[in-house]
């Protein structure tokens, strides 16, 4: 196996034959070089990692599934759940995919979400009602005021979406298409990307990227006030089209059969016209020579915008992404919840028991609890508020093994006015972590205190 080195000058060392760096690039390299991992540490870490990778069983943690965390670009082309196996998801996910229908997974997701909400609300209520005796102090009290409790008012999504759209219309009096036209006139070229910025700030504006109709290839950024249509900033993005690959891509954008403005018109027509939809962004996208234009549009149906994907050669609509219709996110979430669900059912110590154990041990009140997978075992991370011996309030974070009930780690935080000056005391209860503790000691610059477990 060959490992391709960085294209140029990694870790602050310019490669032979490199063009002279611009100043900022050289500074960034200097900064990176100063904070680099030294070769000896890298070798030691490599040895440890290779050994560690061999000692543990199959991956179960979301932390250890990089391919699944990187969604599959081909999913957009209408793939279904059955294909998830090939995306590199680990065995557990494949098992879930083959075993469960999408509907069942979603039901589980909803069940778990509801259960989590009940747990959180219950503990919030407990904390609120019992809070003052255990945890006096304005900081905690403020955070437990009823104003921060979840609202019981029914939420009218459609009404909210309409108001949201109206608010945007009010603030974006100049429309995206007009902004692009102005920018193209200003820079005498063709727009390849445009979006809206700072909608709710003092000066909502559009930024349009234009490639002028003249050699050499350049990229101009034009900022346009979304209320007055005034061009208030124009600048060339210098030096960023030096790369041949980038120049080729941009050339394809400006030679596409469909312009960005036309694509916005197509998207609006699809979504009911200017009266019903408000475009926010439009960009060319080039993936493996497949050129599309993505138009992001706000509609009265949801506060989440719709993404219309248009073929940049033919102008045909490839896909209209419904609000929240993000299959990858949804699938990922459902799988994660399903995995947690199985774990929560299978572990020997249930959540309620773990909380009781932690409360008894710390004499505190739990305010959050979470089942996590760490280092090939299931653990509970439980946060509690406690009253310390000196009367100050404090947070305690307890980690205990979800199968044995053993306390693995207890960390106490006490805070003054400045968070950064908070004191931390830790107890470790893992015989195998001696070495790590010493390493933490070395690295610990926040004044943590370690206590042997």
């Amino acid at each position: 196996m060959t490992v391709r080195p960085p294209a140029s000058g990694a870790h602050g060392v310019p490669a032979p034959g490199d063009a002279p760096d611009d100043e900022a690039t050289a500074w960034m390299r200097e900064h990176t070089r100063r904070h680099a991992l030294d070769a000896d540490s890298a070798r030691d870490l490599a040895r440890d990692l290779l050994a560690e990778a061999d000692t543990a069983g199959p991956i179960r943690s979301t932390a250890l599934r990089p391919p699944a965390a990187v969604p599959d670009p081909t999913r957009r082309a209408g793939t279904d759940d059955d294909e998830a196996d090939e995306t590199g998801a680990d065995d557990m996910y494949q098992l879930i995919d083959s075993r469960l229908s999408r509907g069942r997974r979603l039901r589980h997701a909803l069940t778990m979400t509801a259960a989590a909400a009940v747990v959180l609300v219950t503990f919030a209520a407990l904390t609120y009602s019992a809070g003052p005796p255990a945890v006096p102090g304005p900081a905690i009290g403020e955070r437990n005021t009823p104003t921060s409790a979840p609202s019981t008012e029914p939420v009218d999504d459609e009404l909210e979406a309409r108001e949201h759209l109206a608010e945007h219309r009010e603030r974006l009096r100049v429309r995206l298409g007009s902004a692009m036209e102005i920018a193209e006139g200003k820079a005498k070229g063709r727009a390849i990307g445009a979006d809206v910025r700072a909608v709710f700030d003092r000066r909502p504006h559009y930024v349009v990227f234009v490639v002028p109709n003249a050699e050499p290839l350049r990229l101009i950024e034009v900022a346009i006030d979304a209320r007055t249509a005034q061009v208030f900033e124009t600048g060339e993005i210098e030096g960023e089209l030096d790369d041949a690959d980038d120049r080729r891509t941009v050339t394809r954008f400006i030679r596409a059969g469909v312009t960005l403005r036309k694509a916005v018109g197509i998207a609006l027509k699809e979504l009911g016209g200017r009266e019903k939809a408000l475009p926010l962004e439009a960009y060319f996208e080039d993936h493996d020579d497949d050129l599309t234009i993505d138009v992001v549009v706000l509609t009265p149906r949801s506060v989440e915008p719709v993404i219309v994907v248009i073929d940049a050669k033919t102008g045909k609509i490839r896909e209209v992404g419904e609000p929240g219709d993000d299959e990858d996110e949804e699938r990922e979430h459902a799988e994660h919840v399903e995995w947690l669900f199985d774990a929560a059912r299978d572990v020997d110590i249930k959540l309620t028991t773990a909380i009781e154990l932690a409360q008894v041990r710390t004499k505190g009140i739990a305010v959050f609890a979470e089942l996590e997978h760490d280092d090939d075992r299931w653990i509970y991370v439980i946060g509690l508020v406690v009253k310390r011996d000196d009367g100050d309030p404090g947070m305690v974070e307890v980690v205990l093994d979800a199968d044995s009930g053993e306390f693995l780690h207890i960390e106490r935080h006490r805070h003054g006015d400045d968070d950064d000056e908070g004191e931390h005391e830790r107890e470790h209860h893992d015989e195998n972590e001696d070495d790590e503790e010493h390493e933490e000691d070395d690295d610990d610059e926040d004044g943590h205190e370690e206590e042997a477990g």
């Binding site: 990176t32 990692l49 294909e83 590199g88 700072a198 089209l241 962004e281």
Partner: protein, 214 residues
């Protein structure tokens, strides 16, 4: 120009879910692991990226450890820069999400070390009493880089250190090409704005002296 309207879809996130670098189908078969020396090289490279994302040595170590362990254990890992850096980036994103979720329910006032906001304390070597212009320059450089927006710093790193083209960065981060180019341009301009006027005071090496150093 990094502000995003309240309701605009997280463009980067949404596009990333569609277009981000991803191992292609049918490539999930077992692949050879890197040797110890190769892995050490990946670790150095990965650490630089992880530190750029987190701005904290300790958090970068944790992030790198998790991501690399996952890559080693996954039989289909494609040991290419795009794949490895994407794994680190995704892991970082997951940790930030988890940290954000926990903050909502925890009532904790503790600054989470994984939230990416932690900046290493000043390097004691740089702050040494006998620190000359070099120490001050390094300190100023660290501060200047820390002042960049997270995304700008990441883009600049990927271009300056990894040598990625704008399109490769766009693929990795899920952002449109013009935005990537704009961010890199702004990052460079910002650093020049911060450090340029202090060139003499800090003894910043000039391009000519850098050339001689090579």
């Amino acid at each position: 120009m990094s502000a995003v309207p309240r309701s605009t879809p997280p463009p980067a996130a949404r596009r990333a879910t569609v277009h981000a670098v991803q191992p292609t189908r049918g490539r999930a078969g077992a692949r050879p692991r890197p040797t110890e020396a190769e892995l050490a090289m990946w670790l150095r490279r990965g650490f630089a990226y992880a530190r750029t994302l987190t701005r904290c040595d300790a958090t970068a170590h944790d992030l790198l450890h998790d991501a690399m362990l996952g890559l080693l254990r996954h039989p289909g890992t494609d040991w290419t820069a795009a794949y490895v850096l994407a794994a680190i980036r995704n892991r970082h994103r997951d940790r930030r999400r988890a940290a954000a979720n926990r903050r909502v329910v925890s009532l904790s006032v503790v600054r989470d070390p994984d939230d990416g906001a932690g900046i290493d304390p000043p390097d004691p070597r740089a702050a040494a009493p006998d620190g000359g212009p070099t120490a001050a320059w390094h300190q100023a450089l660290d501060r200047a880089v820390a002042q960049l927006a997270d995304s700008e710093r990441e883009m600049l790193f990927l271009q300056a250190i990894e040598g990625f083209s704008g399109r490769e960065i766009a693929d990795l981060t899920g952002r449109p090409l013009p935005t990537v180019q704009s961010m890199i341009h702004r990052a460079k301009s910002r650093i020049r704005e911060i450090l340029g006027p202090r060139r003499d005071e800090l003894g910043i090496p000039t391009a000519a002296s850098r050339g001689r150093d090579r």
